[in-house]
Symmetry: C2
Subunit: 128 residues, 2 copies
């Protein structure tokens, strides 16, 4: 599965969180979230290309086509993460984590979640 570009990713995020949607719905959501005004046909074109690439599925039975994300959220994020950590941290994932936590605005809840995962990784049998 090919990695989405930034523009494609912003559309996938809409479909991941809100479920299947029309071009208009996606475009409005996109414009609601960002300051930049994005033209309707721009979103349309992008979603058509995504359909060609197989990133989304397109239901053409109604006049307004309904698009559904095909690319899985976790798989896609994993793929992008790998590329990013290779390019920016030379593949060292721990460096990435340290840098991400180092910004200092993680909440106690965030830290708790992370600690819990670490505990699981250290003692797999406790949670198998």
């Amino acid at each position: 599965m090919m990695s989405p570009t930034e523009g494609e990713l912003s559309i996938l995020r809409v479909l991941w969180t809100g479920g299947p949607a029309t071009v208009r719905a996606v475009n409005e959501r996109l414009n609601a979230d960002s300051d930049r005004e994005i033209g309707y046909t721009t979103t349309l074109k992008l979603m058509q290309l995504m359909s060609d690439k197989g990133l989304v599925n397109r239901d053409t039975s109604a006049r307004s086509h309904v698009y559904t994300a095909v690319a899985g959220r976790e798989r896609t994020q994993q793929g992008l993460l790998r590329r990013f950590v290779d390019a920016t941290f030379g593949g060292d994932r721990t460096q990435l984590v340290l840098r991400a936590l180092g910004e200092g605005d993680a909440t106690p809840e965030d830290l708790a979640k992370i600690k819990q995962l670490i505990a699981q990784l250290e003692n797999p049998e406790d949670h198998a």
Copy 2:
């Protein structure tokens, strides 16, 4: 400070780890690390552009110019990380961390380092 592109980043990584270097040295290091053969003039051009952008400093006193990274490693990585986490995880840094750790190949040493940082974040006064 502007964010470097992927190509620029690969050059910065060489300068960060090895210190100031000539175009030839950087190009050889680049080719040693990757399978793709990168032309000498390609590296040259890229480094010239980086000099124009202020990402690197250029010492032209010798015939072979010597380049030094200007963009700081940590700052640059922070900037790229921010963009990435915004685009891919909607700005949720904790999601990024969980995903990064979830791949499952972190060593006990990695986990220890991360735990230590978390401890510091939870009890700042112990390390102030």
